[in-house]
C-alpha cells in the first residue's frame, strides 16, 4: 500500500506539490489527470522513490521511503514520459533490471524474449536502442518494466506522442497488468484513456490533488468545480 501524508515539494521558491495526501491500495489502477505543470511527474518521481527530497511522509508497504529508497525501488518501477535508452541493444536494455537483480543468464534470455514477443518487437532484439523510432522506444521502455514482474507500476503519460497502433499496444499492456492484480498509477492528458483504464481517478491542479475518487463517479458527478471545469473543457 502506498501512503503519502502532507507531502510538499519545492524547487527553490516554487511550490510544486502542496499538501498531497494519497492512498493507493494493492490492485488499484489510479489515473492522475491534470494540465501540464500541475506537478504530476514530480509526484510520480516521489512515488517511485526516485526523489526523496520532499517534506511530509511517504510509506510504501510500511517502509519509510526516505529512510530506505533503495528497497522501495526494488518493488516499484516507473516508465518515463521520455523513453531514454541505454547505449546498448534492445535486449540489453530490457535485460538490465534482471541483471542487477542477479538472475541467471538463461532466465534472463527466456524472460526478455517472452516480453519482446508479447509487445511485438522480437525482431528489434539486437538493434541499437537509441536508433529506434519514438514508438519503438516506448515499447522497449514498457518492456523494460514489464520484464521485472513487480507488484507496482508507474507510467508517466505512457501514450503521449504515440500513433494509434502504439497506443493500443501500450494500453493493452497496462490493461493486462491491471487484470493480473498489479497496482498501476499513471498520468494522462487523455480523459477517455483515464476512463478506459483506471478505477480510481485523481485530478491535480497547481500542485494539489483537488479531488480523488472512483473514476466513474467523478465522470458522472465531479465533486469539485475545478474538476468539473477540466472534464467539461475536454468535451467542448
Amino acid at each position: 500500500m502506498i501512503l503519502l501524508r502532507g507531502v510538499f515539494k519545492t524547487f527553490g521558491e516554487k511550490v510544486v506539490l502542496r499538501d498531497v495526501n494519497l492512498k493507493v491500495e494493492k490492485g488499484e489502477a489510479l489515473a492522475i489527470l491534470g494540465h501540464s505543470g500541475a506537478g504530476k511527474t514530480t509526484l510520480l518521481k516521489i512515488i517511485s522513490a526516485l526523489d526523496t527530497d520532499f517534506k511530509g511522509a511517504y510509506t510504501f508497504r510500511g517502509i519509510d521511503v526516505k529512510r530506505d529508497p533503495g528497497r522501495v525501488r526494488k518493488c516499484i518501477t516507473m516508465v518515463f514520459q521520455n523513453p531514454v535508452m541505454f547505449r546498448t541493444t534492445v535486449f540489453e536494455n530490457i535485460a538490465y533490471g534482471l541483471k542487477v537483480r542477479g538472475y541467471s543468464k538463461r532466465y534472463i534470455q527466456e524472460k526478455v524474449e517472452e516480453v519482446l514477443e508479447s509487445l511485438g518487437i522480437l525482431e528489434l532484439k539486437d538493434r541499437g536502442a537509441r536508433r529506434l523510432s519514438g514508438g519503438e522506444k516506448q515499447r522497449v521502455a514498457v518492456a523494460r518494466a514489464l520484464v521485472l514482474d513487480l507488484d507496482t507500476y508507474v507510467f508517466d503519460e505512457p501514450t503521449s506522442n504515440l500513433d494509434i497502433e502504439n497506443v493500443k499496444v501500450v494500453e493493452d499492456a497496462i490493461r493486462e497488468l491491471i487484470k493480473r492484480g498489479k497496482t498501476v498509477i499513471f498520468t494522462t492528458h487523455d480523459l477517455l484513456q483515464a476512463r478506459r483504464l483506471s478505477n480510481k481517478l485523481a485530478y491535480m491542479e497547481k500542485g494539489e490533488i483537488v479531488e480523488i475518487g472512483e473514476t466513474e463517479r467523478i465522470f458522472r458527478e465531479p465533486g469539485d468545480e475545478r474538476t468539473w471545469r477540466f472534464i467539461s473543457g475536454m468535451f467542448l
Binding site: 518521481k45 517511485s48 526516485l50 533503495g70 525501488r73 526494488k74 516499484i76 518501477t77 516507473m78 518515463f80 521520455n82 531514454v84 541505454f86 547505449r87 538490465y96 533490471g97 542487477v100 537483480r101 541499437g128 537509441r130 536508433r131 523494460r144 518494466a145 521485472l148
Partner: protein
C-alpha cells in the same frame, strides 16, 4: 629550383618509406611504444580520477576541473624544461636515473597528457543524461550499479580521451627532446630517438629526405588515429 629541392626530398622520402628503411621503422616503433606506454600510465591514473571527479559533487569541483582544463594547453617546451630540471642528476628526482631514457619520456608524456585524460573523462561522465541515472535506479540498480552504468554510458568518451592523449603524446617534441635527448647508436639498447626528435635533428643536419619521410609517417599516423576517433564518434556514441 626552389621546388626541385622539395620534390627531390619527397621522392627520396617515399623511397625510404617503401624500401622499409630499418632506421626509419625502428624510430616509428619506438615512438609508438613510448607514447603508448605514456597513454597507458595516464589512463590508469587519469580515468579513475576523472570518473571520481565526474561522479562526485564537492565544493571546489569547478576549480579542480578548470585546473585540469588549463593544464591541457601547457607548452611542451616548458614542461620539458621542468621535467629536465627535476630529472637531471643534480635535480630532486635525479636519483631515479630517468633522464635520457625511454621510460623518462613515457613518464614525461604521461604528465603532459594526464590533464587531457582527466578533463575529457570528467566531461563524458558529466554529459551522461540525468535521466540515465534515474532509469538505472528505477530498474532496480543500487547506487554502485548505477555508477557502473554511468561509466559504461560514458565509455566512448573515455576511449576518445585516451586516443586524443596518445595523439598529443606522439606528436610532441619538447618532452621527448629534453627528457629523452634523442640518443641513437646503431644497434644500441639505450636509444631514445623518436619521430619528432628525429625530424628536428634531420632538418638541422640538412638531411631533408629522411625528415620528410618521418614527417609523412607521423602525419599519416596522427591522421589515421583521427579518422578512428571520427568513426567512434559517429558509429558508437550515437548508438
Amino acid at each position: 629550383m626552389a621546388w626541385d629541392y622539395i620534390l627531390q626530398g619527397l621522392f627520396e622520402a617515399f623511397k625510404l618509406i617503401f624500401s622499409g628503411d630499418p632506421e626509419l621503422y625502428d624510430i616509428l616503433l619506438r615512438s609508438i611504444k613510448v607514447s603508448g606506454l605514456a597513454t597507458l600510465y595516464a589512463g590508469l591514473i587519469g580515468v579513475p580520477t576523472g570518473v571520481v571527479i565526474g561522479l562526485s559533487d564537492f565544493k571546489g569541483k569547478e576549480i579542480v576541473k578548470s585546473i585540469f582544463n588549463g593544464l591541457m594547453g601547457i607548452p611542451t617546451v616548458v614542461l620539458g624544461l621542468i621535467l629536465y630540471l627535476f630529472l637531471a642528476p643534480a635535480g630532486p628526482l635525479g636519483f631515479l636515473n630517468l633522464l635520457y631514457t625511454t621510460t623518462g619520456i613515457s613518464l614525461g608524456q604521461m604528465v603532459l597528457i594526464l590533464p587531457i585524460v582527466v578533463s575529457i573523462t570528467v566531461n563524458s561522465i558529466e554529459s551522461v543524461e540525468e535521466d540515465i541515472k534515474y532509469l538505472a535506479l528505477t530498474l532496480g540498480a543500487d547506487e554502485s550499479q548505477m555508477m557502473v552504468k554511468i561509466i559504461e554510458e560514458a565509455s566512448p568518451g573515455i576511449l576518445l580521451s585516451l586516443i586524443t592523449a596518445f595523439n598529443r603524446a606522439i606528436a610532441e617534441l619538447g618532452v621527448a627532446l629534453m627528457v629523452g635527448g634523442n640518443i641513437f647508436i646503431k644497434g644500441g639498447e639505450m636509444n631514445t630517438r623518436v619521430l619528432t626528435t628525429a625530424i628536428q635533428m634531420y632538418v638541422t643536419r640538412g638531411e631533408i629526405s629522411m625528415a620528410i619521410a618521418l614527417g609523412i609517417i607521423l602525419l599519416s599516423l596522427v591522421y589515421l588515429i583521427s579518422m578512428v576517433v571520427n568513426y567512434i564518434q559517429k558509429r558508437w556514441i550515437e548508438v
